[in-house]
């Protein structure tokens, strides 16, 4: 076996053979499954939720009808009685002697119905609004003879839009979901990789092993071996995480399919997203390796490591802005700033706002920066290999270049 193969095997084996690895890896999907089960069981048991209590129920109330639309019989079915003294009823509600006073305005289409009521709780208070709306809606419906018109009054009609682009049906909003999964995968991988990559690189220096090992393997092979091994470890974790994810899809997709139609998969966007994901993960790995190479111990790495994570995932928090304003100069800056490129380009690609030329440029940039960063990480590691007590400084790097 080659030396790089030996490094990969050693690093991979010792990571996956530890009980802590499996506890950590299995804990997340187990917790997700467990919480889902508990929620499902709770809902199946028909628990009286705050939301269910927020729907309209028969309630004793007084009302004032300035619109002339409210039917007394309908209002009476819901517990309503016409008010004789609006201000007196309001005072009774405030004093707790009356549950609610509803004032229907002269033009309900433009004005709000005013409800003064005794407090039932944050969610349950919505029941008063529902009650007032139902009374007015049913009163109006009672004057309409056509059942279709009544149905339209109660729920607005749905509209199915079919748009065309270049003579072909354009993908709908669901088309952004599959390529957006790459962003989620990148986010998860960055979190998974960060500590692992930094630890595995800094370990040689922290434990004073680097000099011994560098007489048997080059710094480049050592670093590359570690990166590959850690990526393999992450693949194992992703595999474990995907089991409950795929099971969920088996259940969820048929349910969603009936409601929202078919998810459209655009092969070009999927290919671009996949390449950006692979390049982005390599770039993130190289960045974390560089952090590990620059510090003498894992304790010293925390600040730099957090900065590196922040530099990679900050565009996630601007994703909505990137989606809705892809031509903004700020988004252009985000698109080409090296550590922001993976997420920004993936988001723009998902909404179809990344042209083929931009896609190629971003992919080349991400892979190019990843290679440069990995080279720089090796350079840092090789030059600071015997620097056991302190971080590498920019001044030192400059002095290496001079000497």
């Amino acid at each position: 076996m080659s030396r790089i193969g030996t490094v990969i095997r050693f690093e991979f084996t010792r990571a996956v053979k530890k009980p802590a690895f499996w506890i950590g890896t299995l804990a997340l999907p187990l917790v997700v499954v467990l919480v889902s089960l508990l929620v499902g069981v709770g809902q199946a048991a028909g628990t009286d939720s705050a939301l269910s209590r927020a729907s309209a129920t028969k309630t004793p109330f007084h009302y004032v009808d300035r619109s002339g639309l409210v039917s007394e019989s309908v209002a009476a079915r819901w517990g309503g009685t016409p008010s004789d003294d609006e201000s007196g009823d309001r005072a009774d509600v405030v004093a707790g002697r009356l549950e609610a006073l509803v004032v229907f305005p002269a033009t309900p289409s433009t004005e709000s119905i005013r409800v003064t009521a005794t407090d039932r709780g944050l969610f349950e208070n919505n029941a008063y609004a529902s009650l007032a709306q139902r009374v007015l809606e049913q009163s109006v419906a009672a004057d309409v003879d056509d059942p279709e018109a009544v149905a339209l009054l109660r729920s607005p009609p749905s509209a199915d839009v079919t748009a065309y682009a270049d003579g072909r049906v354009a993908p709908g909003w669901l088309s952004i979901v599959p390529p957006l999964l790459y962003v989620a995968a990148f986010f998860g991988l960055v979190i998974l990789l960060a500590a692992r990559m930094v630890t595995v690189v800094v370990e040689e220096k922290e434990n004073r092993i680097s000099e011994m090992i560098l007489t048997t393997v080059t710094a480049g092979d050592l670093i590359r071996g570690k990166v590959v091994a850690m990526l393999l470890v992450c693949l194992v974790q992703i595999g474990v995480f995907m089991v409950p994810g795929l099971l969920s899809l088996v259940v969820v997709v048929p349910l969603l399919a009936g409601r929202v139609g078919h998810v459209t998969i655009d092969p070009w966007r999927m290919l671009v997203g996949a390449l950006l994901l692979v390049g982005g993960v390599l770039l993130a790995s190289a960045l974390f390796v560089a952090v590990g190479a620059a510090v003498p111990s894992i304790k010293d790495a925390s600040a730099l490591q957090s900065t590196a994570i922040f530099a990679l995932i900050i565009p996630v928090y601007a994703a909505f802005f990137v989606m809705t304003s892809p031509t903004s100069p700020v988004v252009a800056f985000f698109t080409y700033f090296p550590t922001f490129t993976p997420v920004t380009a993936m988001v723009r690609n998902a909404v179809g706002a990344l042209s083929p030329l931009e896609s190629v440029v971003c992919i080349v940039e991400v892979f190019g920066v990843a290679v440069l960063l990995l080279w720089f990480a090796q350079y840092l590691f090789r030059h600071s290999v015997a620097q056991y007590g302190s971080k590498v400084t920019l001044r030192q790097i400059a002095s290496w270049r001079r000497s």
Partner: protein, 310 residues
């Protein structure tokens, strides 16, 4: 097995504007045991790191068997001054990992490691994590990694640092075995008894340059050749025939001046004539530790000794 040869020519190492090693040259012949000596910061470890390609020299040529060393070349056993192991892994896993990096097959690596661990009394610790071993036990494992796969060149930087006398002897025996097997050995140490026991030639580094270089006998000759070891009571009187090098308890070391007789008879006569009670007198080659003191701190030591004998 033929040992490796080393050649260092005009080696310069600068860190920024500071020259740690400045134009150093020396050779080590195949099968030779070579002592690289010097005080802290004299450039010994820097020279070794550059020789092994761990750090790049500012200028100069450093070769092993005529070529700059690369890990792919192999055949090297290096025990650095700053040393450690993968603390969370088992002893056997760490040993077989290093063995695999040196190209050993796993069954052979496991067999060799178990034999070695049995020899140094750690067979029952093979499956234990490294951090469960004592410091001395970890050093034995490090030495095992250094000598595994019969390296042609063994470079040991302060190998006995922190070892108790039993483990120190064990280590020196293992080095002797590698020597007997024909390996070239480079020993970096402060212990002159180890140098006298093991080394064929030595190099004394001072401020990044060679202060002395040659066989032990040649270096001793270069530093005056002889010294009078005198067992006496009371202070040592001043005399133009000698210079007091050291005075410890009832033993004084006197460096003869150029006017003194080679056999030291006039020194002995001068001491007796001055009323000193001499119970033993021996002319011997100047010991290496005395040379070490002369190179790195002789003046201060002589001044201090002279003050105490006035």
């Amino acid at each position: 097995m033929a040992g490796a040869s080393i050649s260092v020519q005009d080696f310069v190492m600068r860190f920024g504007d500071r020259a740690v090693v400045d134009g150093l040259s020396f050779d080590v012949a195949p099968g030779e045991t070579f002592g690289l000596l010097g005080s802290n910061g004299s450039g010994k470890t820097t020279t070794i790191r550059a020789l092994l390609g761990i750090t790049a020299p500012t200028s100069g040529t450093l070769t092993i068997d005529g070529r700059p060393y690369r890990p792919a070349t192999g055949g090297i056993g290096y025990l650095p001054e700053e040393r450690g192991l993968y603390r969370k892994e088992s002893v056997l896993d760490v040993m077989t990992y290093f063995a695999a990096l040196r190209g050993m097959q796993r069954p052979a690596a496991t067999a060799w490691s178990m034999d070695y661990l049995a020899r140094v009394g750690l067979a029952d610790k093979a499956k234990l994590r490294v951090d469960k071993l004592s410091g001395g036990q970890q050093q034995k494992v490090q030495l095992g990694i250094t000598i595994m796969d019969r390296p042609r060149l063994l470079i040991l930087d302060e190998p006995t640092k922190g070892l108790d006398p039993v483990n120190r002897r064990l280590l020196l025996d293992l080095v002797d075995e590698r020597k007997a097997d024909g390996a070239t050995v480079v020993l970096v140490t402060h212990h002159m008894d180890e140098v006298e026991r093991l080394c064929d030639r030595i190099l004394l580094l001072k401020d990044g340059d060679a202060a002395a270089y040659g066989t032990i006998s040649e270096v001793q000759d270069a530093f005056g050749g002889a010294v009078a070891k005198v067992s006496l009571s009371g202070p040592v009187p001043r005399s133009p025939l000698y210079k007091l090098a050291r005075h410890e308890g009832h033993v004084a070391y006197l460096v003869p001046s150029t006017t003194a007789a080679p056999d030291g008879s006039d020194i002995l006569a001068a001491l007796v004539g001055a009323g000193v009670h001499v119970s033993g007198f021996e002319m011997r080659k100047i010991p290496l530790d005395e040379i070490f003191v002369q190179v790195y701190g002789h003046d201060a030591l002589v001044d201090e000794t002279a003050r105490s004998t006035r």
